[in-house]
Amino acid sequence: MTTDTAGSVSPVQPHRGRPIGLLLVAVPVLMVVWLIIWPIISAVITTLWVKTPEGDIFSIETYRFFFSDGYSLSNLGMTLWTTGVCAILLLVVCLPIALYLRFADSRIAAYVQGLAIFPMFVPSIILSFAFIRVLGPNGTVDLVLNAVGMPKIRSPYLTPWGPVIGLVWDNIPLTVLILLSGLGSVSNQAIEAARDVGAGKIAVLWHIILPRISNSILVAISFAVLGIFSAFTLPYVLGPAAPEMMGPFMQRTFRELFEPQTAITQAVVTFAFCIVFGLFYVYSVAKNRAP
């Protein structure tokens, strides 16, 4: 006989687990607040409270200077251009690699995957050195061309294309891995069903595969864009002296021009662009997950 009355059963277990769960979460949350949130707030405050002989006053002068200074704007433009070109090139280069790795069943695919992941294990400074030795003036390419009697190429070293090539190469592994994980959710039967109703390879890619991996493409591009926008080593070593990307620009303003407030302003502007990309990514992922 069951004569349960309302409220006679009370769950006890969840109450016991709650403090432990909160404690476990508290450590990383505090670390994020300490090492990320607080420096951001601190940087924003520093740029808005300007020191004057009369004392600290609220001013947007540093931002007004940044957005009215031609050199700062050309550096920002250069960073946006490099990021955009890299994002497009990464998609153009990595999507075919990921498609090949997903659908090829030969042994060669394993070697291709190894090669695609390899840049992940190469430090940026080594990559820069290798780039200079291969594509730089009197590098391997030049020597080979000279040996076969062909004219020298115009080296991308110290041009805007230098960082582009380096950054694309550096970001290939992560982009390929994210796209590959997205392609894993596209079943062989879904593709065979499309071919069965008359879809050729291009139609299958456009109508079946790309819509199914749009989330992965978004994640891959967002990760790449966020990393490239604030990149330092490759643009510093391989890029032109002027205009330069925001990473080297900030470093030079801080270390060589001794203008910490201007450098922090540049950092806040860089962060603002990154947060826009970040919010767009979060919004898109949330929208795609909505039922």
């Binding site: 039967q189 065979e192 069903a193 499309a194 071919r195 069965d196 109703v197 879809a199 079946i208 819509p211």
Partner: protein
């Protein structure tokens, strides 16, 4: 009119596995042929070759006389329904069905008309705007079927389409699919490892084993006149008793039946429903091990004197108890030797009576 001809088709995979071995089959216009066999018998590989998803190593396939052996799937006049439905979850029901028609550049008004008509046909009228993820398993399978039918293929290929559905739904859907197939008179090749599906739907059954044909016949013939012990054991429940024939009598551990074949080892096959049991105390040929009551009938699991287990179907399972001795009286038997049918026939009371004479 759509006729499928498969001639001496073989498929050897790169590792050397011979999935299909010189297989031939002619499927007549409007006929539903079931490919039946255990896992690894090559039935799905064969169906995929007809659909264009695998290329035969040798042999030829034609549809209405046109060679399709090396035609890619997108250019074949076939429509395939996959086991996992393979619906495109980023499209709703209407778009799933309309996709193939759009690729064929059919006018939008005509697409709408044909999609709605085929949705009505499969009992999903008004479901066009639904997301496929909101449908039940049975509804998803209907959409998958409709997606193939809307393109009016010459040959419909069904690859274990009901395998992921529950028993009740499976029974209902197979009746619906059979009705639709007969209404449209569409030539159909159906792969299944479920014998009940094959027996209830097919015009003809192809029993496959290790990539080869064991028997091609009407379902009733495959059931009643299996040509090999494998077919006998695979279709329905069959008691296969290994024994010896001497002087026209098959015997095995106290059990014996007249079989008019030459002396030597033989396998006797008896359906449970063709094995009559009577309670016996002195001349028991077996012992009741377990009795299962299915409501409409009972199944007695019994042991011969050498512990060989066989089954008998009884109408009154309550009469039998575990441990009781029973006498066996088969009403119809088949005998095989070296995987070849050597005898088949009903045992009339007169013939059966010879057993006692001989035994005596």
């Amino acid at each position: 009119m759509s006729v499928l001809n498969i001639k001496d088709v073989s498929k050897i995979f790169p590792g050397g596995t011979r999935a299909v071995d010189t297989f031939s089959l002619d499927v007549a216009d409007g006929e539903l042929v079931c490919l039946l066999g255990p896992s690894g018998s090559g039935k799905s590989t064969l169906l995929r070759m007809v659909g264009g998803f695998e290329t035969p190593t040798s042999g030829q396939m034609t549809i209405d006389g046109d060679d399709i052996t090396h035609v890619p799937p997108e250019r074949r006049p076939t429509g395939m329904v996959f086991q996992s439905h393979a619906l495109w979850t980023h499209m709703n029901v209407f778009k799933n069905l309309a996709f193939g028609l759009k690729l064929r550049k059919v006018a939008p008004a005509e697409i709408k008309r044909r999609v709605e008509a085929v949705l009505e046909l499969v009992g999903l009228g008004g479901y066009g705007t639904r997301a496929v993820t909101q449908l039940s398993g049975g509804q998803q399978q209907r959409v998958a079927l409709a997606r193939s039918l809307v393109l009016e293929p010459k040959i419909l290929l069904l690859d274990e389409p009901f395998a992921s559905l529950d028993q009740h739904l499976r029974e209902r859907l197979r009746e619906e699919v059979r009705d639709i197939q007969q209404r449209l008179k569409i030539t159909t090749l159906f792969v299944t490892h479920g014998q009940d599906e094959a027996l209830s739907m097919a015009d003809r059954i192809v029993v496959m084993r290790d990539g080869k044909t064991e028997q091609i016949d009407r379902p009733d013939i495959v059931y009643r006149e299996p040509r090999t012990p494998f077919v006998a054991g695979f279709i329905g429940t069959m008691n296969l008793i290994e024994g010896t024939v001497a002087n026209g009598v098959f015997s095995k551990a106290g059990y014996s039946t007249p079989v008019p074949v030459a002396d030597g080892p033989a396998t006797q096959a008896i359906r449970p429903e063709a094995l009559e049991l009577t309670l016996a105390t002195d001349n028991a040929q077996g012992k009741v091990h377990r009795v299962t009551d299915f409501g409409t009938h009972g199944l007695v699991d019994l042991e011969l004197l050498d512990s060989t287990r066989i089954k008998a179907m009884v109408s009154h399972p309550g009469l039998f108890q575990p441990g009781q001795g029973v006498a066996l009286a088969p009403k119809a038997i088949a005998a095989y030797r070296d995987d070849i049918l050597i005898h088949r026939g009903a045992l009339t009371p007169e013939i059966a009576a010879r057993r006692e004479t001989i035994d005596a």
